[in-house]
Symmetry: C2
Subunit: 243 residues, 2 copies
Amino acid sequence: MGKLYVAGYGPGAVGMMTADFRACADACDIIVGYSGYIDALRPLYPGKQFFDTPMKQETDRCLAALKLAAEGETVCVVCSGDSGVYGMAGLVYELSPDFPGVEITVIPGITAACSGAAVLGAPIGHDFAVISLSDLLTDWALIEKRLCAAAMGDFCVCLYNPSSHKRADYLQKACDILLEEKSPETVCGIVRNIGRDGEAAHILTLAQLRDTRVDMFTTVFIGNTNTKIIDGKMVTPRGYRGV
Amino acid sequence: MGKLYVAGYGPGAVGMMTADFRACADACDIIVGYSGYIDALRPLYPGKQFFDTPMKQETDRCLAALKLAAEGETVCVVCSGDSGVYGMAGLVYELSPDFPGVEITVIPGITAACSGAAVLGAPIGHDFAVISLSDLLTDWALIEKRLCAAAMGDFCVCLYNPSSHKRADYLQKACDILLEEKSPETVCGIVRNIGRDGEAAHILTLAQLRDTRVDMFTTVFIGNTNTKIIDGKMVTPRGYRGV
C-alpha cells in the first residue's frame, strides 16, 4: 500500500516552496495535478512521471491519485497555494474511505492570503476572513451571508476567485454588500500573478474597487476600520502603536 | 542604506521553511527576533549575528532593526508562522516613516491556520475566519463582536492565542459566544506544538472544546455546519461531493 501526499507549492515561485514540498515532489513516484500546475512544475522535475487533468475534473484526478496509491505508488497531489485552503486536501479525505490503508499526509504551503499580503505590505495584520467568490460549488446566497458577516465583524477580508469570464460582476456585487457596513474609503489592495512573471499590485479605496475589473489570477484584500496606507503599502495595525 | 526583511519561518520545523526564508536568513548581516524564536534558529545559523529581545518588547525590537538597516546593515526580522499574520510586518511598516530609505521586504511563511490544518486533515477547506483571543492589544468587546460575526456567517474559525496564564477562561468565553449560533456538536480540533517536538492533535465537539483547557502553544479550529470527521481527520468539504 502506497502513500499519498497532498501538497501545496505556494504561489509558484520556487523561493516560496517549502523544503517539505520539494522533498515530497522529489521522492514520489508520480505527481498528480491540474494541467496548469503540472506545466509549472515539470521543468523542476525532469524525468518525473506526471498525471494531469483539466480544471473541473478534481474528483477524477483525486480518485486516480488514490487508486495509484492503493496500488503501491507514492503519489503527490499538487495544489497551488495551500492544499487545505480551497485545495484538494478535503476532497482526497472525502474520497479516501473507498481506499482503506492509503496513508494520507497534507503538506502545507503558502496560501495567497499570505503571499499576496506580503506584496501589498501587511493588510491582514489583524483578524481576517478568507472568502471565495466562486459559486461553482457554493450557493451565492451563502457567499453573500459570509460577506455580510465579515463586514459586520470589521474583519479584514481576503477574496479568492474574485472573478471569471462567467462571473464578471461578482466582485462588484461583493463590494456592494461590504459597502453596507464598510466605508467607501476603506483601504483595499489587489495583487495579480503573485510571485510569478508580471506580478502587479495596486492599492485603492473600496469605492474604487467596486468599479475595478479583476481576473481569476487576482487576489483581493479589503481592510478593516484601521487599515491605512504607509508609504505606498497597505497596513492593518495590530495595535502596538495604539489605533 | 541597508535592507530590512520581515520573514516568517513557519511553525518551526526546517521542512516548513521556504527557500526564500532560508536564503534571507543566510544572506543577512543580523537576525532580529523574540528570544524564543532566536533560540530555535541559532543552531541553523552558526556564526550569525543575532539580536533578541523578550516578549512584549516588539516596538523596541523593530526600532532596533530599522536603526541597524538605516546604518547600512541587511537585517532580517524573524517571526514564527507568517510575519503578516499577527507578526511584525505591520509594526515595521508603522515605524518605518522615521527611517526613510530603508527598503522593506516581507517574506511570507506558513501560518498556523495552514500548518495546524494539515495536522488535523482539512478543517479550513471552505471560507474561514482567523481570530486572535489575545486582548493585550485588542479590546475584548471587539474580539466578541468578531466571534459573533464569524458564527453568524457559518465560517470555519481558527483561533490564535487561545489562552494564557492570565486568560485561562478566554477559550471558554469564546466557545460560549460561538455556541449561540453553532451547534454543540460542531466538529472542532486543537493542535499543540505544530511541527515541533511533542506535536499533538485532538478532535472534539464544540461542547467539549468549551470545557477543555489549552495553552498558548495551541491553535484551535472550529468547523462550519458541514465539517465532519473522516477516519479520525477533521474535514470541511468544499462541495465537490455535494453537501
